[in-house]
């Protein structure tokens, strides 16, 4: 008798587990599907012919039997707008900012952790404190400074303020600080100069964190909105986000065009995300772990 109750409750708990596991899967994949619906909708509508606009039914790819699909929106955008130029601009700005950030942030992090000089603690304190300065608080005076430097409508006007961000310094500081001193000592005994220690010891050891930081900064600066909006007032200098919004608020007014713009605007970064997903996620997780 006791034996059978035990096996029955064991069986019940097994089916209970199975049910719970199934529910969990349904919930998680259901949520994933819901989150993906805007993607599917965007892709579908970007191929929707204009003559179907009056149809209130949502248009999904693959289309219902007999419904046509069209590439006219993409052709229109590539022929009549500067979307290609904007993509190039965005690559230059995001790429330039990323290279600059990785270079100068790793240099100062190296100096603050691996060299010993008076005042470095105070400098790190000031950099940390600058986290409290919200980005948007500075836009009015920053705009004047950038304008006085003659950087309005120039790539540098977007890149330089982006490179002032303390985030990279902070992340690299944490990482460099924890590199065991033995590596460096051995190198110094072999007659390595400071520059050689930096390029041959520290940078190779920091490669994973440097690439994660670089990818995160690339994504971040690719997507930046308010600052490029202020600095780049010339249509040929726009980045993609600014160009897209300008088209959206300007004279393109069919949903198909809106959606094709959205696709063209996010495609380059989405490809990068699919390839380097792990590193981008790691860069975010590092922020959480050090915060």
């Amino acid at each position: 008798m006791p034996e059978s109750t035990q096996s029955r409750s064991l069986g019940a708990s097994l089916t209970g587990d199975a049910v719970r596991s199934a529910l969990l899967h349904v919930a998680l994949y259901g949520l994933a599907f819901l989150m993906a619906v805007p993607y599917l909708y965007t892709i579908s509508r970007s191929f929707q012919p204009n003559e179907l606009l009056r149809d209130p039914r949502p248009y999904w790819i693959p289309p219902l039997v007999g419904e046509p699909i069209t590439l006219e929106h993409y052709r229109y955008l590539l022929e009549n707008t500067l979307v290609v130029q904007w993509t190039i601009n965005t690559f230059i700005i995001a790429g330039g900012a990323t290279i600059l950030i990785v270079a100068i942030d790793s240099m100062i992090a190296f100096s603050l952790t691996r060299l010993d000089w008076p005042g470095q603690g105070a400098i790190m304190g000031i950099i940390l404190a600058s986290f409290m300065v919200p980005y948007y608080m500075n836009i009015v005076p920053l705009y004047q400074i950038v304008s006085n430097l003659g950087l309005i409508n120039s790539y540098w006007g977007v890149i330089m303020p982006a490179a002032a961000s303390p985030l990279g310094v902070f992340l690299l500081y944490q990482f460099f600080r924890d590199i065991p001193v033995e590596y460096e000592e051995a190198a110094r005994l072999d007659g390595f100069s400071t520059f050689q220690v930096y390029t041959r010891i520290i940078l190779p050891l920091a490669k994973p964190i440097l690439s994660a930081l670089a990818l995160f900064m690339f994504v971040y600066n690719w997507n930046a909105f308010l600052w490029p909006l202020l600095v780049l007032s010339n249509e040929t200098a726009y980045t993609l986000p600014i160009g897209l919004v300008n088209l959206y608020q300007g004279n393109i007014d069919t949903p198909g065009l809106h959606m094709a713009v959205a696709i063209l605007g996010s495609l380059p970064l989405f490809v990068i995300y699919l390839i380097f997903q792990g590193q981008i996620v790691r860069a975010v997780q590092m922020q959480g772990a050090t915060g």
Partner: protein
Amino acid sequence: MGISERISGGETGTNRKTVMGLRKETIEGILWSIPYLAVFTVFLVWPAVKGLYMSLHTYPNKFDLTETEWVGLQNYVELFQDPVFYNAMEGTLLFVAVSVPALVILGLVMALGVNRDVTGKRTLRAIYFSPYVLTVAVVALVWGQVYSQSYGLLNYYLGFVMENPPGWLTSPDLVMASLAFMTVWWLVGFNFVIFLAARQSIPERLYEAARLDGATGWRAFKDITLPQMRNSVVFVVMVQFILQFQVFAQPYIMTQGGPSDSSDTLVYYLYRSAFSQQQFGYGAAMGYVLVAILILIAIVNFKVIGDSNA
């Protein structure tokens, strides 16, 4: 330790080569820091200082910004009597009140779910995080279509279960919640991956020990998961408060603050004051008030969530 002492002793020897009485390592240290410090000073520290100066002045000549007029605290006084400012504050607080809790709680639930015994963790993570890599311009474009009252995706399907589904961006009561909901879709992945990493770093033996004491489910969550994840919760809450408080692009692109100013926000108003109406002093003052509010929020946050479990 002995070796490292001897080596650093040896280094001090080479460091005796001095320029103007400075050790070689000090000079090197400064040189390696200068590139970042120069950018940091010109584009972050200097604007913060200049902003204070600007907030105490007006710029009577819109074409010659070297012409300034000292007005003391007048910009700040005007700001606190400005009904548009209070309306924008209300909109911002409403947006924060809807978006931040949703972002934090949903991110946490997603992380705890994926952390369980689930097949396809990588796929789920890839999908959950993916909207985060979109630019806000694309998010606005896409959701503009989803929310559209007449031909939008959402209202087409809602039409099956209710009559006259609302205009998500055209109703003053709904517009902020709609923008917040869209923002949750866009950014929840950031919180999700941070929470997931934090949850995965909790040692499993803590749960095993708790199970022996009969603590599972809600008890284990309250006594182990939450306290162990406290740092990341504090971090995420802070980051989201600061970020969502500065909401700008969503109303700027999708609603221009409307309908009837119901989706105006502080940063959007700051943008209009300084860059449409050319009131630079006023805009700079608003920037400073924003910082004061954010610091206040940060202190309250630390007091409330930082200490409650300590």
